[in-house]
């Protein structure tokens, strides 16, 4: 009796499976930073288009980048330098499909100890998150202001932004080059302040914070699904722009932050799907000029970004979406 019952069960599942296979399953890599926080809303939005998203959390951008390149995940967001870094090492399976905006990186100093000019930076101890776009912006700004990066007192702190804050408070560093929510945390807790210095102004790197990227083999087999994802993504940006309260709330909940820290974190963030390709080329050049990657990929990098999906989702032309910026 039991055997027959089991057989019937297996038949039922086998018949039902094609029906379930209607929706496309996608793994989305996610990090808990304000820059990517609108993406918390993506699974709900994507469901309306028939895409079933499973979130995979990562601690480091390098991990997400590697997972996307190998195809373990199909979509994620990281900095504008990440595709260039991967290409420099020979990885060709990443494609940028949209921008995420600007304003998320920040500098933070101890309250009352402002740093006003780039010259002052030479005898301060700087804590930096290596490999981040914040680091690139800072390095580019340093060079553009006539200083030599490797003559500075750089302290490389790994393992999360809270270590930067501890180091700042404990006077082990004088300035941290990080990103929200850590600056926000320091502000809200009262011991930190934004310096007069601004590193979002470098000519080379500009202000772009993140790009949305997909795995190329996945994209080539599922162009339809990728289009739906980008369309859903544009919808997400709209929601976040219109209702910053809801955005802050969901970010606070997912990151485990108090609401005022979350609010401060997203206050200076400007959401924008534009992908400034010239800026990305300059970043690539900057990386090879400074020995971060071994060859100049600025000539080929354009092949690893596509405006097709974005154009269809927004109804705008590639020029309007940043191809010449």
């Amino acid at each position: 009796m039991k055997a027959i019952r089991n057989l019937l069960l297996i038949f039922a599942v086998a018949l039902a499976t094609p029906a379930l296979a209607q929706s496309v399953k996608v793994k989305q890599g996610m990090l808990n930073v304000p820059a990517l926080s609108p993406l918390w809303l993506l699974p709900d939005e994507a469901k309306k288009h028939g895409i079933d998203i499973e979130m995979v959390m990562f601690q480091r951008f390098a991990d997400a980048r590697t997972a996307l390149a190998s195809g373990d995940i199909q979509i994620t967001a990281f900095g504008p330098q990440d595709i260039s870094l991967a290409l420099g090492a020979g990885a060709k399976s990443l494609v940028g499909v949209a921008g995420v905006g600007s304003g998320n990186d920040c500098l933070i100093v101890r309250k009352g100890e402002d740093i006003k000019t780039w010259q002052e930076v030479s005898d301060k101890r700087i804590g930096i998150g290596a490999g981040s776009i914040s680091w690139l912006k800072f390095a580019a700004s340093v060079q553009e202001n006539g200083l030599q990066y490797n003559k500075l007192k750089i302290v490389n702190i790994v393992g999360g932004g809270s270590n930067y804050l501890k180091a700042l408070q404990g006077k082990e560093i004088d300035m941290a080059v990080v990103w929200h929510p850590f600056c926000a945390q320091a502000i809200v807790d009262g011991f930190g302040a934004y310096p007069t210095l601004d590193h979002n102004r470098s000519k080379t790197v500009g202000g772009l914070i993140s790009v949305l990227a997909v795995n190329r083999p996945f994209m080539e087999k599922n162009r339809d699904a990728v289009q739906k994802l980008v369309t859903a993504y544009i919808g997400v940006l709209e929601i976040a722009r219109k209702d910053t309260g809801r955005w802050a709330k969901i970010y606070a909940e997912k990151a485990g932050l108090p609401e005022n820290v979350a609010a401060e974190s997203i206050r200076t963030t400007r959401l924008d799907p534009v992908m400034p390709l010239e800026s990305i080329k300059r970043i690539s050049r900057f990386l090879s000029d400074n020995g971060v990657i071994t060859r100049d990929v600025s000539g080929e990098i354009a092949q690893y970004y596509t405006y097709d999906f974005l154009a269809k989702a927004t109804g705008k032309s590639p020029e309007q979406l940043g191809i010449k910026q």
């Binding site: 060709k92 393992g159 270590n163």
Partner: protein, 265 residues
Amino acid sequence: MLKRLPAPWLLVLPALLVALWHFAVDLRWVTEGLIPSPAQVMRSWYTWIFGSSAAMLSPYSGTWLDNVAYSSRRVLQGFGLAALAAIPLGLLIGWSRLASRVVDPTIQMLRPVPITAWLPFAIAVFGIYDASALFLIGLGAFYPIVVNTTHGVRDTNLLLLRAARMLGAGSGTVLAKVVFPSALPSIFTGLRLGIGIAWTAVIVAEMIAVKSGLGYVLWDAYYVGRMDICVATMFSVGLLGFISDRIIVWAARFLLRWRTLEAHG
């Protein structure tokens, strides 16, 4: 009689592994660009050692020797501290039953905790200074040294102890002049194991907050996708660990000459 294998035979296995690695990358068994080829690693390593250390953003040109010096200093200091603490403690635990009962259980309970788990504690207590790194390296090296020293003490031939006492030696002399020399071979085993772990620990330790060192370069390189430098770092640490081990073996051979002698009868 087994003849001693001529040197070229020792290279067969490594050569096979390198060949396998080369083809894995070349034939794309792994996603392209995620694993560097042996040639890429060698090129990058070469630049790292001999390249010009011009004003570079990333420390991958001409900075190898500096990084080696920095990490080696850390390892030696941490290891030195560990030995300084562990050898006397091991002698005490092996010699005194009271000390053993009081101290040993704590040591055995802390031993399974991996070095990475100590990282947050180290940062909290020592901050981002060298002290954190030394603490972690020393902690890693501590356990094999203390355990092997204890073992060496407990293994002392009872007749040697009796002979010494019969000849008029007090407890202090027995400990210093009989137990300690008798335990030296085991102590050296502990030191060898300890230095190996110290090199393992340097990667973890240098993650914290340093400007150079092999551990720092490993993590920095990973963040910017330079797996070729990561692999070169791994090889570097392996090489330095090997050299350190050999130094201890030679020191042991020198100090323990009496072990290798044979009777002429």
